[in-house]
Amino acid sequence: MIFENMGFYFREALLSFRRSTLMSMATILSITTILIIVGVFLLISINSSLFLKNIESQLEIIVYLEDNISQAEINNLKSNIASIDGIKEVKFVSKEEAYQRLLKDLGEQKDILSAIEKNPLPASLEIQVKDPKMIEQIANRIAEFKKVEEVEYGREIAEKLLNFTYVFRRAGMLVLALLVFASILIISNIIKITVYARRNEIEIMSLSGATSWFIKWPFIIEGFLQGFISSLFSIIILYYFYIFAVDKVHQAIPFLPLVVDNMDLLPIGIAIVLLGSLVGILGSMFSVGKYLNV
């Protein structure tokens, strides 16, 4: 019964769009504005999240090796470490490489090394972990391996950083939740106004003996279309705005990591479409319900 009449409901919804063009346009404009605000926040938050990840990934464990370690033992140790859960990468740095690095770092001042005959630097393994939260645990395990002189991971910095990113993410989520909640309220109120404008029609339909679903469907479709069209508008506007903004930021700070892959931006688009369409549908459904109980 519902789907038999779908064509009719769609025609009714479109007709009402045409009958009150100005109202529909105002509605779409308002919803678009709200969705753009949500979208800007989402874009800021995925970029901050990328930024935090980037900082976190710079945390690494450095394992200094004993001087008497053999090549076989190094290989053995490397593979033992690599088999620990949560290890991303293990990189060997020989005594010679460490020396070269130091030379490079010292630059002009490299003369001070000439006083020392033998290379004093130990060979090391530089380890990157998948989840920075695991860094302490993994470092403690590695410390127990043989031929390991010392394990270093900048405990204090790591802890502070992880604390900071944790709080930052939580705060972001809270703000996001509030923003989404507010946008749901605002959009459903905008929809409510469009339904209110037609409360007489709803009342007459109901008194003529129309079933409540027959009355609701055109409004639901109209609400959906208003939400959906608004979300498409806001996505288009956000997209061009974002490309422009990324360009400007990169001109100012060339190496700042920003989300530019369209596939990474897609979830935001989907979220906006869902937010617009669902609130459009549910908002009109509840609003009509209010005027149905004549």
Binding site: N200, I204, M205, S206, S208, G209, S212, F214
Partner: protein, 224 residues
């Protein structure tokens, strides 16, 4: 067709709009519901189309107890009842034709049925030549006729009219009355709330008198 047993209606603000109403209205009857403003006439009519439910007592319409009617069945009750509202409830952004077709569309009538019925009732009330204009360009009497056309488009068993001649001159009022008698003769049960003394005395129909929510008189061929 309509029976009420010990019906009471209290509004949330503690007003007792109806008290101990007992009545039996047979199929095809024409009944005037008279009484001063605030007597409970509109409330009485609302009970019949289940715009409200009684606080106490039973209202039976065409064999259906409206207090126990599940909300899903209300639409089907209302398809048997035409209503002419005291405040018209016309859609002023739609044409005369659309005002009538609107209700038929709402109950899923086919385009053919809609065209046929709308033309028929607009002819009956004499508005066929004004089908394309908006209601605000109609006179009061014409708007009332449009309301009647809309109410009977679905050929209901019962027609409820709430003070349809309230604001009209005697000549136009009598025109409206004749229209209602005509509809009544074709078998539709009509209840008309009114305090239009002239029309009621002239009509010589059953008169049910309400005062402060009670029926104080019920006379066949009565006067105001």
């Amino acid at each position: 067709m309509i029976r009420m047993f010990h019906v009471y209606k209290n509004y949330p603000n503690k007003i007792q709009a109806l008290r101990d109403i007992n009545i039996h209205i047979k199929k095809g009857e024409f009944v005037f519901l008279v009484g001063p403003t605030g007597a409970g006439k509109s409330t009485f009519l609302k009970l019949i189309y289940r715009g409200i439910v009684p606080t106490k007592g039973q209202v039976i319409v065409d064999g259906i107890n409206i207090a126990r009617l599940k909300s899903g069945y209300i639409p089907y009750l209302r398809r048997n009842i035409g209503i002419v509202f005291q405040d018209f409830k016309l859609l002023y952004n739609r044409t005369v034709y659309e005002n009538v077709s609107f209700g038929l569309k709402a109950i899923g009538a086919t385009n053919f049925e809609i065209r046929q019925q709308v033309n028929k009732v607009l002819n009956l009330v004499g508005l066929e030549h004004k089908r394309k204009i908006k209601p605000h360009l109609l006179s009061g009497g014409e708007q009332q006729k449009l309301c009647i056309a809309r109410a009977i488009a679905n050929e209901p068993l019962i027609l409820l009219t709430d003070e349809p001649t309230g604001n009209l001159d005697p000549y136009t009022s009598w025109e409206i009355m004749k229209l209602l008698f005509h509809i009544n003769i074709r078998g539709t049960t009509i209840i008309m709330a009114s305090h239009d003394k002239l029309m009621i005395d002239k009509a010589k129909k059953r008169v049910v008198r309400l005062e402060r929510g009670r029926i104080i008189e019920d006379t066949q061929r009565g006067t105001y």
